[in-house]
Symmetry: C2
Subunit: 890 residues, 2 copies
């Protein structure tokens, strides 16, 4: 598609009104900013020889002038409109306002982007009591002409004069003759406006034009612009176009069509039409339309356009092909056939499902219509996201109970459970469940893994529940504050509804909807064109794409999605298994290094097994393993019963256990004794973990599988912390390699997740092989936001415009991003070979990926189910940098 | 004192051995790095004509050579030593190793700084069986000569040969004749070393020199260096000096003296001496020495040096004056009188109490001996701190129960109480108490204010208890982890001791000591020279000094200490008063804006009264008032009984109250709903506070008192947050000024305490009049340390050398400081008039103040009792920048 350029826009016409018709046009498709999307395409179609009813476009600049100058038009506009109208009259061989040969026109708004909330169309402008008679005489179709007049008065009344539509609808038309109905309609106008319906065609025209401009600042339009970040300076254009009529009898008709199938993307012509009808009749669904061709398998084949008007259909087929070749994209077209003559009323890039978008893009590459680069820009990463998860069937009727934050996509159904234990128990019985919690903690992991999906009342997009669920590829809704959980009563309420444990609900993690009962779902296929499409992306992107995976299963999924290694393997998630948590607790409760080492010795073989599994799945790709990160109290129980059980199991008094738990509790655990701070307090933990990694690596390598371990030290704020831990890792690596008699190439690096680490990156990089930006925590400390608590603040901030986005979802470029930029730059200054990546949740967010590309990171790492999204976003980042047009503004 | 310079040090002597004696010297006082402190002063004294027994110094470079070259001496050292020894022999007219006219020498270590753990002196080297007889013949004093020989063998055995001193001590000397004792001593040497005591004087000399160098790397010396951050490359020098004898009968003697009084600083000559004795006899305390002069009011006036040896005393008086004039500082001297001739053995800058230091410095300015700038560099800020608080009398015997972190200085005694209520109750009865808590919270404020001091088991140097106590000028020890509090039993244990409520303890917030019983205390005077001294500082410093004060009482104290305004007035501290907390709770529990406003209306007049009081105290000086900062749950009770009471008081159900409290609770309150986030959620709170400020300001101004209010918005991380709050403040200011019909000059600024605020300072400064760095919180978020929890981590980090200092006490220059530097720079770029200060605890820390000076802040703000310290530190920062010598390295 031609690119817009203000220079170009000024060429060909120096005024404010742009004519099109009879094969000539003042504008073209590149002039969307000036003529609006609809207008620009009308000019373009005219130019390339397609029959378009003649007309003209009043530019968006007039709209801006109008609002800057106290709702007045620029001087000379009236003359210009008259001039262009004369050209239209010439082409259409009719005269606007003429009693004997009247030209009727439509008036439509047309902004740069499609804008719900703008004025509806007004048709048949120019018709009045006088021309009514002429038209009847001319067409011999009384019904048709009265129908046109009736429509004009109603539309004009509704849209221009603000007479509620219901006023017209409540008349029982069948009780009136045609003539009497017109009289009644005019009465309604008079009653509401204290004026007669205007008989002067120019009054009608200017009334409609003014209404278009007024509608630009209607409340609905303003709200829409705010939500979609559309500047009010864009303004709207006005399209005035000759009427053609699909309701002039059986040789007339009207229809809409897609040049390919909008749901599947198949290269078939797909559409609907109605004989003897005007456009709204198809759209409004008053009459059931017929298929456009025989290929659309339908009972109404016989009524298809292909059968009924084969000539027009053939012409349409030709136009379909021309438009696709011209616009290089699938089109959504509107046409009208007036007494056997085909007129095109609209063409635009067609909306389509993600599946269709992929197929169309890949097919068009194969058809040599577009390049791979162009194909890549045709999909938004969120489309890819939708394709990877089962989706709600939105055609179904749903009882939405509440809407929370859409934390991890997928639509799943199951019985409501309120404890992880119940989720596990139901899973064992083969019954799907939805785990509903206030918020989740590491103790809930087994329950989360067993449930189909997770719903929490509190927490933000990067709360524990959200992060873990995304890592598991589980549907999840968080921060659903409109539900109220009562654990004691085993129920939650949502408004007036009370949902008890055991009742079935469906959650849609893509939209945040909580639905009563089992909602119908659909799932897209991941095969075929989808894989090809993502390979195009791989050929374009510079960023590496790794995954965050903590177990062989996730690693396998990520490899299927073509992840190029693991960017973050959280070792603590491995600690919650039933056989392990006991040893972990023994380690925590140990009162001496000797006892701690004994417990660690039990954990060693288990951790090693995990790593062996992961290394095998990731054969030949790097695996970044993070040493223990969370505060130790997360591994201890906090409920009375569990404490009692544990004290019996461990053979220590409940009091002592409580003392230990209380001594480990912290006022701000996020800023507490965690990450490398643990490894510094208890070097033997780091030692055990390093030993497990290197023993696993040696054993895998001895089986002939290439293995690249990279050890990552978390929560570093000071170079000496890193060095302290690196020395342990290096020492253990040496010992283990000597024991196995082989050499493993490995790296030791750090997570940059504390502002001070980014500020002092030079000192840290001097000792480190790689940096991985942990932007979840970095966002917390940079903003001073606790992600577990921020749910109270963020919605208000976004509503008040204080923040534009949730910084835990989309990397905050000027704050957190500044630290990333600074950290990468300072780090590489000290160590030019430094490998720099990102492993926060932002690693799977397209805008953030674009930023990572711009600041020159080596890779991004994200949850397995976001790997395809990241592949696409990384490719798009390259193309955007080169000036490629984005899906967002297309 | 002359400054050291390596260039200068090389002049005059190109070798490794530096001679002094007979009025000539190779070195001078500026050559401390090369000759050590003691050596350099011996050279200097010689040079200015004071009688010093001749000798030479082997330089510190030899020590370094020795360790770099496998414990070998540089080539030619032996010859050099011989050469210089010959010069000594010439001056002293004796010959080393000569049987007939033997020269005896002492060997002493002498590093750049005084170094405990280094080798003790060896005296009388050169004496052997042969020269013994000659010496007896020459002096006719058998007792003396045998005494010398005995001392040599014992010292040499102990210090050089490593024979335990106790081996000699356990001989009962009275059982042996002089001759027999020597034989016994030699036997001990032989037994332990399997070798005879060396008879060759040169063997003795080199043995002692080697022992000095070896002692540089003794375990004790190494530990001392580590603790005091002395690099091992400094090395030690060796001083070899002719012996003179104070034990040659009644015309001989020895003594030590201070040129002024070391405790009071009075300009009086003060010292002690012993006739017929060697130096160690005075120091070791074996014999009780006599006063040096009559002025020292003592029973032993008659035995004073002034009475006994008036000539020598007169000479000493002259030397005293010369040395002070020469060194421009109070000296600590050692002298020996050998048969009526006075020899000086040492001079150095004298240690003194802080009180003495101030008096000496101010007196010397008045005596025109030093400049005000020099005077200012004579005291360390911590000396000033000590002077401002009652101090433990360290001469008393104390039973120390435990040692915690010294959070706020002062030594105070009182009954142990475990609840704030008890502290308040005891205060009402006039009984002093020490509040002992796990940790404190805002609810404890009244108790803290009523107690003499606060002791907490947990928390770091900037925990709630520490900060509030310093603000109140109350003694406080925090993080005293060796005590274990049991609230239920109303007692705490410390090791084997159990202290019950009601028992008296003393806490010393300057040293962190917890002492059983009421320990005796002393307090320095704040009048006279002290005030003058600080005025010198005011004449030098560039930084403004403000104070952190939340009430008129603190403001008054700070003004007495000459604070130039308030840098931080925390409005929430005002909310805890008994009459106020109810209204605050009403506000929090309000379920609509209308109810909230009703509660706020009750608070308005109270806040206004506070501000009126503060504005009056700070007449003419700026007052920065911070809007509400802490999370609201801090104002609500958390204990069952209190919740019950409050629910009755407020007339709401306990359940509803619990729900509210739980809905306000946060996982990481430090990163939660606080600061401007509250003001954005509840604009009416900011509005009320602004109204209180401006109404107070107008009313005070109408009384003719100048008032400069500055409103500070806390916890800003984004420019739009600030703007949101500023708009409220500006609007209210306008309203209030219109109501009173006067104009108040005011500013609105922000606290930079979140990394993102510093990173985006340009955007914020564009809207703000001032920045105040809240480095407490900024340190928390920059490091990811919670100051309430960091007590578990910091001691270990400092012990392991990962951090050099507690960053909550001393500003972390490369991390937090980088953000301060960046924030100030970026802020001023956008707004060159931006006023930039600091109001964290660091505002009272001298090292941090130096940093603030360097990065060009406008002022620092600290607690009232640290204002004098800050005045001094700010002046010293100026002088250090100009290259002034610091108290730290003097």
């Amino acid at each position: 598609m031609a690119k817009s350029s203000s220079k170009k826009e000024k060429m060909g016409n120096t005024g404010n009104v742009y004519f099109f018709g009879g094969g000539e046009a003042d504008g073209d498709a590149g002039m969307k900013n000036l003529l609006g999307g609809k207008g620009a395409n009308l000019h373009e179609m005219t130019k390339i020889g397609i029959s378009v009813p003649a007309g003209f476009t009043i530019s968006t600049e007039v709209c801006n002038y109008y609002y800057k100058n106290n709702q007045k038009y620029p001087d000379g506009l009236e003359n210009e409109v008259k001039e262009k109208l004369q050209k239209v009259e010439k082409v259409m061989n009719k005269k606007f306002g003429d009693k004997n040969n009247p030209l009727l026109v439509s008036v439509r708004s047309g902004a740069r982007a499609s804008m719900p909330g703008m004025m509806d169309t007004v048709l048949n402008i120019g018709l009045n009591d006088d021309s009514l008679e002429t038209l009847i005489a001319e067409t011999g179709d009384v019904r048709f002409v009265y129908d046109c007049y009736r429509r004009l008065i109603q539309m004009y009344g509704d849209v221009v004069l603000g007479v509620p539509k219901t006023e017209f609808d409540k008349l029982d038309a069948s009780k009136f003759s045609r003539e009497a109905l017109i009289v009644e309609y005019k009465k309604i106008i008079k009653e509401h406006t204290k004026k007669d319906f205007p008989q002067d065609p120019f009054d009608q025209l200017w009334g409609a034009v003014g209404a278009v401009f007024e509608s630009w600042n209607s409340e609905r339009a303003k709200t829409y612009r705010e939500l979609n970040k559309i500047p009010s300076e864009w303004g709207t254009a006005v399209n005035v176009q000759s009427m053609v009529f699909g309701n002039m009898g059986d040789t007339s008709g009207t229809g809409v069509a897609f040049t390919r199938h909008p749901a599947t993307g198949e290269n078939v012509f797909f559409g609907e039409w109605l004989p003897n009808a005007q456009g709204e009749d198809v759209v409004a669904g008053i009459r059931t339309p017929y298929p456009i061709n025989i290929a659309q398998n339908s009972k109404e084949k016989a009524n298809s356009l292909e059968q009924k008007m084969p000539e027009s259909y053939k012409e349409l087929i030709k136009i379909r092909s021309n438009l696709e070749k011209h616009y290089k994209d699938m089109q959504d077209i509107e046409f009208t056939i007036e007494k056997g003559k085909l007129w095109m009323l609209q063409t635009r890039n067609a909306k389509r499902t993600p599946v269709a978008a992929v197929k169309v893009a890949v097919d068009m590459v194969k058809e040599k219509m577009i390049s791979k680069e162009e194909a890549i820009m045709r999909l938004s990463p969120s489309d890819i996201d939708l394709m990877l998860h089962p989706m709600l069937d939105h055609t179904a009727k749903l009882e939405v109970l509440a809407v929370g934050l859409p934390a991890s996509p997928g639509a799943v159904s199951g019985e409501v459970v309120f404890t992880p234990e119940e989720a596990v128990a139901l899973k064992a019985k083969g019954r799907p469940s939805i785990l509903v919690r206030f918020e989740t903690s590491p103790e809930d992991i087994a329950g989360m893994a067993s449930a189909e999906g997770v719903l929490t009342q509190r927490g933000g997009m990067t709360s524990h529940a959200a992060v873990v669920a995304r890592g598991m590829g589980k549907a999840c809704i968080v921060g659903c504050e409109t539900i109220s959980i009562n654990y004691d009563k085993n129920e939650f309420t949502a408004g007036k509804n009370t949902i008890k444990a055991g009742e079935i609900i469906t959650i849609d993690g893509g939209s945040g909807k909580v639905i009563r009962g089992e909602a119908p779902r659909v799932r897209a296929s991941l095969k075929g064109e989808f894989g090809e499409f993502l390979e195009y992306a791989d050929g374009i992107r510079r960023l590496g794409i790794r995954t965050n995976a903590d177990n062989p299963e996730s690693a396998k999924v990520a490899r299927e999605f073509k992840a190029e290694g693991i960017g973050l393997c959280r070792t603590e998630h491995m600690f919650f298994g039933k056989d392990r948590i006991k040893a972990v607790r023994e380690m925590i409760l140990a009162d001496s290094e000797v006892h701690r080492r004994k417990a660690l010795d039990k954990l060693l073989p288990m951790q090693k097994e995990d790593f062996i599994g992961i290394f095998k799945e990731m054969a030949g790709f790097p695996v970044i393993i993070r040493t223990l990160d969370p505060p130790l109290h997360e591994f201890l129980p906090h409920k009375a019963l569990q404490i009692k059980e544990l004290s019996e199991e461990m053979g220590i008094t409940e009091d002592k256990l409580r003392d230990k738990i209380s001594s480990l509790s912290e006022l701000n655990p996020m800023l507490g004794h965690r990450g490398c701070r643990l490894g510094i307090s208890y070097p033997e933990i780091t030692e055990m973990q390093a030993r497990a990694v290197f023993e696993a690596a040696c054993e895998v390598k001895l089986k002939g599988i290439e293995v690249i371990p990279e050890i990552m030290i978390p929560v570093v704020s000071e170079a000496r912390e890193f060095l302290n831990q690196r020395e342990i890792v290096d020492r253990v690596a040496k010992e283990v390699m000597a024991k196995y008699g082989i050499t493993i190439k490995y790296m030791v690096g750090t997570m940059i997740e504390i502002p001070r680490a980014a500020l002092t990156a030079e000192k840290i990089a001097d000792k480190a092989d790689f940096f991985s930006f942990g932007t979840n925590d970095l966002t917390q400390t940079t903003f001073g936001f606790s992600r577990d608590d921020v749910g109270k603040i963020l919605p208000d901030y976004i509503a008040k415009g204080i923040l534009k986005n949730d910084p835990f979802q989309q990397l905050d470029v000027i704050g957190v991003g500044e630290l990333v930029r600074m950290g990468a730059e300072r780090g590489r200054k000290a160590n030019p070979k430094l490998e720099v990546g990102i492993c926060g949740e932002h690693g799977g967010d397209p805008h953030s990926i674009e930023f990572c590309h711009k600041v020159g990171l080596n890779y991004v790492s994200c949850s397995p189910y976001r790997v395809p999204i990241a592949r696409l976003a990384a490719a798009q980042a390259v193309l955007k940098e080169k000036g490629g047009e984005s899906y967002g503004t297309a």
